[in-house]
Symmetry: C2
Subunit: 713 residues, 2 copies
C-alpha cells in the first residue's frame, strides 16, 4: 500500500481504496433509501467506514484534497477489529440520524475548536459554523463533527451539515410502571434540577442528528489509546504539519491603516530594541478596498509594494497579508470570478464557490502571481466562518452556489477550501508557508493554517488551545490589547507557548506595551516607564525563541505520526479523572506542561499535576505528580513543568530565526536525562553523551552547537 | 359569515373556509413539488394565504384548536387587496425557502418572546425553542414565526420547524465590476466593521429558511397600521383573552417542599398583615415524585389535599399547581399514557404525544378528575420548552412520536398543545382559569396562559414584556429574589404592571422582603427592620389591586378586538423612530405608559415621551411629549404616565379581588377627561357625568360605586 500524497492526488487517481477515500467514486450518493444499517468496512489501517442510507455528494471526506498517510497508519499498532458496534441509522424527511454506543464512565472530547468546555458527555453539541460563539452549544468558527472517547476510539460523521450530537444524555422512554412512593425533598436550585452527571450511566448512546441528508458515512478510528485514535484521525486526514522555522518565531501585525514607511519604521525599532520578530502582518488597509476585498495594493499607503516587501525581507521579516474571500467589484479578480460565485453578496462582494476547483484556481492564481511572486509568505484569511448573529454580514445558509453546494454546506467547508486555494499557490512554487485562518473543519491536520478569532476572553482562549488538539486543529490565542500590565503579561505568556506567537496590533499604532489604553495609543501618548513593560515582554518573547527547537521537534512528530503538538492533558492521562477534566493547562509536545495564570487571580491557581515526577521548568525544583499542587501567583513566570528526565534544548534568543546564532543550544537536563530529545522528520537530532560534552551535532544541512548544558533538579 | 367558536370546533367541521383554516382538509399536503410560486388567496377578512410547494402536515395553523374570530375580523377596516407582493419560494433537499419584499426604512418586529432586542431589521432570527437563550439569536422558549413591520402588515410562516429569518441584510451578489479607487481608512473596531444599519437600504428582502419541509403556507395580515396587523393576527388566532378577575390580583408561590400547614400559615400571615393575594401557587413538592411528575399528592406534605384546597378557598385563595408534562413511572397516568408517548424519556418519564388529541384527552382527563374537581383553579406548566444546552434534559429533535411528529416539530407545538390539554378540562367544566406556562408558539392569543422563564435579568424581563405584544403572547416578569432592597422594589414595580403579578418563592420559606439572602431566608434569619421593606412591597402590590379595573378593560378589548393589553410603544407610534425603538418602556392598555427604573441606576433614566400631552400618573404633572425627558431615580415610585384626558378608575386596595369593597372606585381624571374609560366585553362600564357625581354604575351583575373622584394636572 503506497502513501498517496497530495501531488499525486492532483494528477487524478481512480479506483480502489484511494478513490473510495477521496470521494472520486460517486456511486455511494445513489439512492439506497432502505439501507440504514451497515457493516464496518475497513478503509485504512485501523480505520473503518459504515455507510448509512444515501450520503450527500458534498462532504468533508468526499471533497478531501489531501490523501491519507497510509504508510504511517500502517505502522501503527495493528487494530484487528472495529472497537465499536456498528451504528444504527434512521432516515426521515428532516435528515438522517445515527445512534452509537457509549459505555459507563466513558468520557467524550472533541467537536473542533470549543471555547466553553472540554468534557462533552451529557451535552448537546451542534457543529454550527458561528464566528461569535458565546454559549456552550458546540457552535464554533471551526466545528468538527469528530469526537474521541476515553475508551480509545474516534468517530467522524462525514457531513457538511450543522449536525447535532446528543452526547449520552438521551434515554429511551420508560415502559414499566413503578410503585408510588413519597419522595424526599425536591431540589430548590436550578443547578440541582438541571444538572446531573450521566457519565456513570449504563446503556447510554451518542445520537447524531444530521439535517437534510438522506444518509451519511460514519468513520471509526481505532486507538487503542485516545491519543492513538487522534493520531489515526490526523494521519487519515493527511498527517500533521511541520511549519517553516520562521513560522515558529514571533509575529507582529501592524495597524490597519499604517503606511509602508510607518510599518518599516516600527519594525526597525523592533530590531533596534531587540524585540524578536519573524513575521510582519499587514491588516486590511494594504488593499485599495476592504471590506470587501480587492487584493490590490493601496497606492497611497503602499506606493511601491515590491520595494516594501524587499525592505522587509532585508530585515529578515516574512510578510503576511490580511484578506477575506469576498471580492469587491473593483478587484482585478472580480470579472474572472463573477460566474464562479454564490447567488448572494457579502459586504457588496462576491462569495467564491470554493467547492469548485476552478474557482479555487482562478482565485488563487491571481494572488499567486500578484502577491506570492512578489515575495509574500503567508496570509491571514479572515471572516470565512459565518455571520452568526452579529448583524448577519455573511452569506445565508440558503445561498446557492454553481457547484451545487448550499450555504450551510459551504459554511462547513469554506474555511478549508479557502485555505486550499492559497496553499496550492505555495505548493506550486515549492515554498513553505504558515498562515492564519478564521475557519476550519474536518480533516484539517495537513493544512499549514492556524486558527484565531475575534473572541478574547483569556480562559476561553486557553480552553480552545486545550481542545484544538482533539480534532487536528491549531489555535493562536493572539494578544491584541490588555486591561492591565498583568493582563498583557499573562496573555503574552500564554501565546508564546502556543502554535503561533503573535501580537495583533491592528487597531493601535504602537505596541501595547507602550500604551495599553487604546485611545491614548492612537494619540501616541505613551505610558510613563513603558520601557520596563517592554523589557518584560521582550523577555517573554525571548522564551518563544528559546523553545523553537523543542517546538520544531513536536511539530515534526505531528507531521510524521499525527501526535498533536499542543493538546489536552486528557489525551495523555485519559484515565485520571481529575487530570482529564483540566481545561486550563495543556501539553506542549510530550514532556512540557503549561499551566497559565490569569490576570487578577492574585491567589495563584491549583493544578492537578499528572502522575510521575516533574520539574519546575524555570527552577528545576522536583514536583511529585498525582496530587493537586497550589501555585503561587508570580508576575515573573508562567508555570511550566517538564517530565523528570527531560533533555531540553534551548536556543539562543535572537531577533529572528534567520540569525545563525539560534543554532547555539543551551541544553537543560532535568533529573537523570532518561528522556532524550529527538527531532523526527526532516531534522534528525538525537541527544547523546557527545552532545552533553558540547560537540557539534549535524542534522542534514542544519548544524546545532551545544554552547552549554546544565542539570537541573 | 359566522364566528366559529371553540366548542363548535370540538364537534367537527368540514368543508369550506373553516376547514381550510383549521387544517382538516389535508389535500394541501399532497406533493406538488413544482409549485413554488403562488398567489395570495383570501382566507379571512384582511388575511391571505399563499401556498408554496407542499407544506408539511404538522404546522401551527393546520393543528389549530381554536377557530378564528371571523366576525371581529370582518368588522375591521376593509382591506381590499394584499399589502405585500406574493412571496417567492424555492425548494431543495434541505427545505423550503421564502423571499418576501422589504422596503426602505421598513422596520421589523416580532418573532415571539424575544429578550435581547426589539427591532429586528438587519438581524438573523431563528425560531428555535430554547429554555435558556443568552444571545440575540431569535432563540426563545416561545418563538413565533410571525413578524409585523412598520409598514403595517404581518407575515406568519406556518411551520413547526426551527425557521431562520434573514431580516433584510442579505443581498444578491454584485454583477458589475467597478473602477478601482484607493479607499479611505479602514475601520479599526469590530463594532464599525460588523455593524451597519441596513434599514435605509432599498431592494432588501426578508429571506426565510424552513428546514426539512418541501413547502410552506405563508399568511399575510393587513393593517393598515402595525397595531391593526397585530390585531388581525390575534383575531385570526382566535382573539385575545379576558382572564378571571382573580387572575389579575396578586400571586404568591410558596417554597417547593413546604407542607400544607406551612403554606396556610404563610397565607394567613399575608391576610393578617394585609398583603394582597388572590392566587396561591404550589411548586414541585406537592407531588409524590418530581422531576418527572406523578400528579399525585405527596402524602406527608399534603395528607388531606381536599381539606387544604377548601381552607385556601376559605381564605379567598385560588390554588395553582406546578407540574411538567413528563410522566413518572409511578404516576397513575403512566400506564394509560405509555403508548401515547414519544420514543425518548425525559427525567425518567414519558413525553406525551400532545399532537394526538387522544393523548391530550387521557392526560387532561386524569388531572380534570383528580385536581380540577377538587377545586384546583390553574396550573404552572414547566419545562415544556426545550433543554437547549443545559445538560440536555429535554427530548431531542430527532425524537419520534406516534402521531408522526418528530422532536423538532413537537418542541414548536408542545407548549401550546400542553396548554390545550389542561385548558380543555376547565372549558368542559365551564370554569375560567388563568395559568402559567414556559413555552408557547404561533396562534397563542386565545389561550389563558402567561409565559415565564428561568431567566432573570431585569432589563431582559422588561424587553420580553415589550416584545410579547407583537405576537399574541403574555409575559410575567416574576420576582424571585433580589440583590438588594432596591432590586426587589424595582422588580416588584415592574411585575405589578404586567399581565400576571407574582412573587415566586419556590426556594425560600419566607417572602423575600423578610430576608433577601437566600441562605439566611432558608435558615429563617430575618433582616432587621424587614417590616419597612414589607410596607414598601405592600404598597406596590396595592397598586396592582388599584389598577385591576383598568387591566380588566384592557383585557376585555384584547378578547374583543385583539389589541394587546401590554405592548411596545412601536405598535402605537411606529413612525416615530426614537419612540419605536424603545425597549425599556411599554404601554398598558391604550393610555398608560410604564417606564421602569432598574436597580443601581442612580441617575435615573431618560425616556423619549411619545407625541401629545401626558400626565405623571402619580402627581398629575403635565408633560409634553415628542421630546426626551430625564426621569430622576426615585425609590418611591415607578415612572408611569397617562395620556392627557384619561379617565382612570382605581379600585380600593383589598386583600383579594373577592372582597366586594374592590368595587369602590376612586376615579382620577387627568386634564379635560376627554378620554372616557370603557370596558368592552362582558363588563360594560362607561364613564359619564353621572359617574363623576359618584352614582352607582351597573354592569351586568357587577356594580361599581364611585367613592371619590379628583381631577389631576
Amino acid at each position: 500500500m503506497t502513501n498517496i500524497n497530495r501531488r499525486q492526488l492532483g494528477k487524478g487517481l481512480a479506483g480502489g481504496l484511494a478513490a473510495g477515500l477521496l470521494g472520486t467514486g460517486r456511486s455511494s450518493a445513489a439512492p439506497r433509501p432502505s439501507q440504514i444499517d451497515a457493516a464496518w468496512t475497513p478503509v485504512a489501517p485501523g480505520v473503518w467506514k459504515s455507510t448509512l442510507g444515501s450520503p450527500e455528494a458534498i462532504t468533508p471526506v468526499k471533497g478531501r484534497l489531501v490523501a491519507p498517510k497510509l504508510t504511517a497508519l500502517g505502522s501503527m499498532q495493528h487494530a484487528d477489529k472495529p472497537p465499536l458496534a456498528v451504528p444504527v441509522g434512521s432516515v426521515s424527511a428532516r435528515g438522517v440520524s445515527v445512534e452509537l454506543p457509549l459505555h459507563t464512565n466513558e468520557e467524550i472530547y472533541g467537536f473542533g475548536l470549543q471555547f466553553f468546555s472540554v468534557q462533552q458527555r451529557g451535552k448537546k453539541r451542534v457543529t454550527r459554523v458561528n464566528a461569535d460563539p458565546h454559549m456552550d452549544t458546540g457552535d464554533s468558527h471551526a466545528p468538527v463533527p469528530f469526537y474521541v472517547t476515553s475508551h480509545g476510539y474516534g468517530v467522524l460523521i462525514d457531513t457538511a451539515r450543522y449536525a447535532t450530537f446528543y452526547c449520552g444524555e438521551t434515554k429511551p422512554k420508560p415502559t414499566q410502571a413503578a410503585a408510588a412512593v413519597n419522595s424526599g425533598d425536591v431540589p430548590t436550585t436550578t443547578t440541582e434540577l438541571y444538572s446531573r452527571n450521566p457519565a456513570d450511566e449504563a446503556s447510554a448512546k451518542v445520537l447524531v442528528d444530521v439535517p437534510a441528508a438522506q444518509g451519511v458515512d460514519v468513520y471509526l478510528f481505532a486507538g487503542p489509546t485516545i491519543l492513538e485514535a487522534v493520531r489515526r484521525y490526523n494521519l487519515f486526514s493527511g498527517g500533521g504539519i511541520a511549519p517553516p522555522e520562521w513560522g515558529l518565531g514571533f509575529w507582529y501585525r501592524t495597524q490597519s491603516n499604517a503606511t509602508d514607511k510607518q510599518v518599516l519604521a516600527l519594525m526597525k525599532e523592533f530590531r533596534e530594541r531587540n524585540i524578536p520578530c519573524d513575521v510582519l502582518g499587514l491588516e486590511a488597509g494594504w488593499q485599495t478596498h476592504a471590506y470587501s476585498c480587492t487584493y490590490a495594493w493601496h497606492k497611497d499607503r503602499f506606493p511601491d509594494p515590491a520595494s516594501f516587501v524587499r525592505q522587509a525581507k532585508a530585515l529578515d521579516l516574512h510578510v503576511n497579508l490580511w484578506e477575506h474571500a469576498f471580492i469587491h467589484p473593483s478587484s482585478p479578480v472580480f470579472t474572472p470570478m463573477v460566474d464562479l460565485a454564490g447567488d448572494k453578496g457579502v459586504w457588496g462582494g462576491l462569495v467564491p464557490d470554493f467547492e469548485d476547483p476552478h474557482a479555487r484556481k482562478v482565485y488563487g492564481d491571481y494572488q499567486g502571481k500578484a502577491l506570492l511572486d512578489m515575495g509574500i509568505d503567508g496570509f491571514k484569511l479572515d471572516e470565512c466562518d459565518n455571520s452568526d448573529y452579529t448583524r448577519g454580514w455573511s452569506f445565508p445558509e440558503l445561498s446557492k452556489f454553481p457547484s451545487g453546494a448550499d450555504g450551510e454546506q459551504m459554511h462547513s467547508i469554506f474555511g478549508l477550501r479557502y485555505q486550499s486555494a492559497l496553499w496550492d499557490q505555495f505548493e506550486q512554487r515549492k515554498r513553505p508557508t504558515y498562515c492564519l485562518v478564521r475557519s476550519s473543519g474536518a480533516l484539517a491536520a495537513p493544512y499549514p493554517f492556524v486558527l484565531y478569532s475575534d473572541l478574547y476572553e483569556h480562559r476561553q482562549f486557553v480552553r480552545a488551545l486545550v481542545n484544538s488538539g482533539f480534532s487536528g486543529l491549531l489555535w493562536c490565542p493572539e494578544v491584541r490589547d490588555a486591561k492591565s500590565d498583568e493582563d498583557l503579561i499573562r496573555r503574552l505568556q500564554t501565546v508564546v507557548f502556543s502554535p503561533l506567537a503573535m501580537i495583533n496590533g491592528w487597531y493601535i499604532p504602537n505596541p501595547p506595551w507602550k500604551q495599553l489604553d487604546r485611545k491614548k495609543n492612537n494619540a501616541n501618548e505613551l505610558m510613563p516607564q513603558w520601557e520596563s513593560l517592554e523589557a518584560k515582554c521582550r523577555e517573554i518573547i525571548g522564551w518563544r525563541m528559546m523553545i523553537v527547537p523543542y517546538l520544531r521537534a513536536a511539530f515534526a512528530k505531528y507531521a510524521e505520526d499525527g501526535a498533536p503538538p499542543f493538546r489536552a492533558l486528557a489525551l495523555d492521562w485519559p484515565d485520571q479523572p481529575e487530570v482529564a477534566k483540566i481545561d486550563d493547562a495543556w501539553m506542549v509536545g510530550d514532556r512540557m506542561l503549561v499551566a497559565p495564570l490569569f490576570a487578577g487571580e492574585t491567589s495563584g491557581r491549583t493544578l492537578m499535576l499528572p502522575p510521575g515526577t516533574w520539574h519546575d521548568f524555570w527552577t528545576g525544583t522536583v514536583m511529585h505528580g498525582g496530587t493537586k499542587v497550589q501555585i503561587a501567583s508570580s508576575f515573573e513566570k508562567i508555570p511550566v513543568y517538564v517530565k523528570a528526565g527531560s533533555v531540553m534544548p534551548l536556543a539562543a534568543v535572537t531577533n529572528s530565526t534567520a540569525d545563525p546564532h539560534r543554532r547555539q543550544l543551551t541544553v537543560q537536563v532535568f533529573g537523570d536525562g532518561s528522556l532524550p530529545f529527538e527531532m523526527a522528520g526532516s531534522l534528525k537530532l538525537s541527544w547523546d553523551q557527545a552532545a552533553k560534552k558540547g560537540s557539534l551535532m549535524q542534522s542534514g544541512s542544519e548544524a546545532y552547537t551545544v554552547a552549554s548544558w546544565s542539570v537541573k533538579g
